[in-house]
Structure formats: C-alpha cells, structure tokens
Amino acid sequence: MNILEQIRNRFVDKIGIMEKSAKRVYIAVEKEEARELVCYLFRDLGARFSIATGVDTRPGIEILYHMAFDANDLMLTVRVLVRKPELEMPTFSDFMPAAEWIEREIHEMFGVKFIGHPNLQTLLLPDDWPEGVYPLRKGTFESEKENEEREN
C-alpha cells in the first residue's frame, strides 16, 4: 500500500490532500489533528523531517512541515494554520528532536508560541532584540500596532 493510501485510511476526512505532482503532495490539516498526523509520518512511516516554513497570512501564521520520504521520492508538506491573535501551537520537538531549532526560529521570526517547547530563547536574533517585533511578518511593527488599536 502506498504512503498516501495509508494516510487516507487512517485520517479519512480529517485531512485535505492536494497532489500537485507525483513528487509534491500537500496535506491541509486542522491544528488539533496536526500533531497526530506529523507524529504518524515521522515515527510510523519513517519520514525525514526536512524543515518547517512559516508564512504570514491575513488570518494567521501558516506553518508548513516538509516531510521527506527518501525511499519513495516524495516530498510531503503538512499545512497548518495557527490563528491570530493567540498564535499558539503544540511543540513537535518532544517526539521529533529535529524540530527543536526551527520552532525556535519560527517563534522569534513570527511570534508563534510553541507550547511545551523546552527552550524558546532567541536562536538567530541578538539577545537584546525588542520584544514583540517579528522580522518575517508581512506588515511593519507600527502597522500591526495600529491594526490592533483599531480593532480594540
């Protein structure tokens, strides 16, 4: 049975699979199911964690977990939306140590809080970087502040 069928059988309607090509597959999943799905890919199906990408979008920060299946020539990407303004996401570093650094990076660059992460100190930014300034967000720091004030 191929990998996509195994995933489909186990998660049925909790996920949306988009096959861009035979080698590039994207799976959209809700935040609540993401942990189970990624754990299944990494621990049971033996995927390699390539990296995660954060993307700032209007409703929240999108996190893409790129899982490589080296034996099957497949790059599978799990797409999760972490909604603003809470921006909370469970950590995956407990079952997948490879994710520890990139979660720290997404935390400092986008402000996503990874619940349960052992060490969310800055990795790339200087120690005296001002709090609440996230370099890879789309808006400027000032414009985000203004938006917040307008909403309140």
Binding site: K20, F49, S50, I51, T53, A71, D73, M75, P97
Partner: protein
C-alpha cells in the same frame, strides 16, 4: 558540590573561522554538557529575497555561502521551476550536474585540509589545498570565476561549455582524480590518523534519524540518504555512480565518506562531459506564475532546501531557505558529551558546519569568567594529543 568548569568556544570557530558560540561544561577533561549559540551571521536573506526578482535571487542566494556557493542557487532555481512546472533543456541539466559536483570536490578537500591542520598534520593541509587548486582552475575555465560562478538561472544555465574545451577539461579531471585517490589512500591508511579519529565523536544511527541530519553526517552514521539518488534531478539518474555509506558514525568515517565522495564526483563529471547532448541551455521562461514550489539539492554538506510561494508577480511572496548545517549542527549535543576537551573543537567541526567556530576558544573558571586556556592553547592540546600518539 559538582566541580564543573565552563568553556566558552566562540563566537568564532577555531577551525572554520566562522561565527558560532559553543559553551562546554567540563569536569576535569571530560565534557558533561554543551550549549550552542548561532545567529552572529544572520543577514535576513529570506526577507531580502522577497524584494528581488526571480532573475536577481540566484545571485543573492549564491552569496549565502562562500564555499558551496552553487548549492543555494541550484535549490532556488529548482524551486522556481517546480512552481512553474517546467522542464529545462537536457544540456543545461548536464552542465548543472558538472558544476554541482565540481563544487563537492573542492569543498570536501577544503574540509579535509582544515581537519588535518587541526590534528597537527600540516602535510595533509598543504596537500589537500594544493590539490584543490586545479579544481578551481576548471571552474575558471567553465564559468570565468574561481568561486561565485553565476551559472544558474531559472530555466537553465547562463554559460555553455564549448565542445573544443572538453578534451582539456577531461585531462584536468584525470589529474584531479589522481590527486584525490592518492590523498584518500594516504589519509585512510595512516595509523596515527586512524588512532586519532576512530571512535570519537560518534553519532549513532538512531540519533541521526531523530535529528534528521543530512549529507555526509547522516551517511557516516549508516543512514543511506542522498538527494541525488532519492529524489533524482539534473542528470544524476542518467549516470553511473554510488552513494558512500559507512556505519560507525565517528570522525574517521565522516572523513572517509567525504574523501571517497570526491572520487565518485570525478566519475560523475567525467561521464557528464562525455555524454552531454548538444542543444539549447535555456528554456527562456517569461513567468514563474502562481503557486508553491520546493527545490532540493545535495550540497557538499547535505540537502539544501528552498521553498517558494509565488503570487504571480515577479517577486517571491515567501522564500524559505534551509542550509544543511541547520540540521547537522544540533547533533553536536549527541557527539561531544563524554569526550575530552582536546577533541571538542574537532568534533564540532566534523559536521563541516557552514558558518563558524573560534580562534578565541577559552577555558574559563565558573563564576569568575577568568580565562584558563586560550583558543591557541586548545589547538595545541589537540595537536599534542596527535604527537603523543605518533610516539607510541
């Protein structure tokens, strides 16, 4: 009370002269805990790439790394081509393969030389760097540059290899092969190097999988992954070559994997030069379009990963870059604990981190921050250990 001493190493790596800051906690000579701090060299290239066009970005990402400068443009153009869903001309695929693997040879030789210097084998350093020179000459003949070749563009390559140049290039490759196999034999058969490097800094196979390390670090620990074989691209699937995999995961194996890979790269380049079909070198793409794309390339240090989200304009909306060292460096926690200070700098350099460590390593007394040992003294410690082995 535990007698623990803190040794900060950095923010420059003693061996690689790039910024990276290690803190080692030692009891006597044994390392009991370790921390790392990176980011001294963060230049915000991901953000900068969003304000440059798809034609400019290959030049930008080429400047991420001075040693493996082609790896990032290679992954970037593949990501952009993945968005557009296009095939590039066959001749361009071959030229890309030649550039990619020439780079592997010179990068591995550079590391072997530095590692040799660090254990007090300056002969290895002199040899490796001397024999790296003809590789750079070949680069100059092909691209006009010894480094930062500017060969890649979305849809193909920028310069062709003239047919009249091929006999001379083949001859130069033969020379490189002679040097590489001589160096490989000399290093791998040397009893002192074996005694010095075997059994230290071991990364176990399960740890390698858990940490998802890539490239020679993974292959030295028995994880047989190589983007060139697993996710075939360019001309790698049309050529006969082998993945080098060893089992023990110590520094000797990491060196062996790199040395043997230079010989495989010679094989790849020779076949490419011979088989290369005639034809165009550029698909002449006007637009990248809308969508997402992923590009991978097996750099000398492992898989380079680029992700692009395109919104139909001439600029990427999001460009994620992941260099192999980002996955490889965290493995130091598994390899360095329990080893002695004399080996620490060598172990942290064994993953060939593509950024920095310390010429100002220092052993410091806890609390007082008083410097007990300087970086130079630590290098001496490492070289003295080798001297001691030679006398035995």
């Amino acid at each position: 009370m535990r007698k623990e001493t803190l040794i900060p190493i950095g923010p420059y790596h003693p061996l690689l002269e790039e910024p990276e800051f290690f803190k080692f906690y030692v009891e006597g000579e044994k390392i009991v805990d370790a921390e790392v701090r990176i980011g001294y060299n963060h230049r915000g290239i991901e953000k900068l790439a969003e304000s440059k066009t798809y034609d400019q970005d290959p030049f930008l990402v080429e400047r991420i790394c001075g040693i493996c400068s082609t790896s990032h443009p290679f992954a970037f153009v593949r990501a952009a081509e993945d968005v557009a869903g296009i095939q590039i001309p066959e001749r361009a695929e071959y030229i890309r393969t030649i550039i990619g693997d020439l780079e592997r040879i010179h990068s591995h030789l550079l590391w072997v030389g530095l590692a040799g210097h660090f254990i007090g084998y300056n002969t290895v350093f002199m040899w490796a760097w001397k024999y790296r020179e003809p590789v750079l000459d070949i680069f100059e003949a092909i691209s006009g540059n010894r480094n930062h070749y500017g060969m890649f563009k979305v849809g193909g390559v920028r310069r062709d290899i003239k047919d009249s140049d091929i006999p001379a290039l083949l001859k130069a490759i033969d020379e490189v092969e002679k040097f590489c196999s001589m160096l490989t034999k000399a290093v791998m058969d040397d009893p002192v190097i074996q005694a010095r490097l075997k059994g230290i800094g071991i990364l176990k196979k399960q740890d390698a999988i858990d940490l998802s390390v890539v490239g020679p670090v993974a292959r030295a620990s028995g994880v047989a992954i190589d983007v060139r074989k697993d996710h075939p691209y360019a001309a790698y699937d049309r050529i006969d070559w082998n993945i080098i995999v060893t089992e023990s995961g110590d520094i000797f194996d990491k060196a062996a994997v790199r040395l043997l890979e230079t010989l495989e790269s010679v094989k790849i380049i020779r076949q490419c030069l011979k088989q290369m079909p005639k034809g165009p070198i550029d698909a002449d793409i006007r637009e990248v379009g809308v969508g997402e794309g992923i590009g991978q390339h097996e750099a000398p240090r492992g898989e380079v990963f680029h992700y692009i989200r395109a919104n139909g304009t001439n600029f990427p909306e999001r460009h994620k870059i992941r260099a192999p060292s980002f996955m490889n460096v965290p493995s130091f926690k598994k390899t360095v604990i329990g080893e002695s200070i004399a080996d620490a700098a060598l172990i942290t350099a064994a993953v060939d981190p593509c950024y920095c460590c310390t010429e100002r390593m220092a052993v410091v007394e806890p609390g007082t921050e008083k410097v007990l040992l300087t970086g130079e003294e630590l290098v001496k410690l490492s070289q003295q250990k080798t001297e001691g082995l030679k006398k035995r």
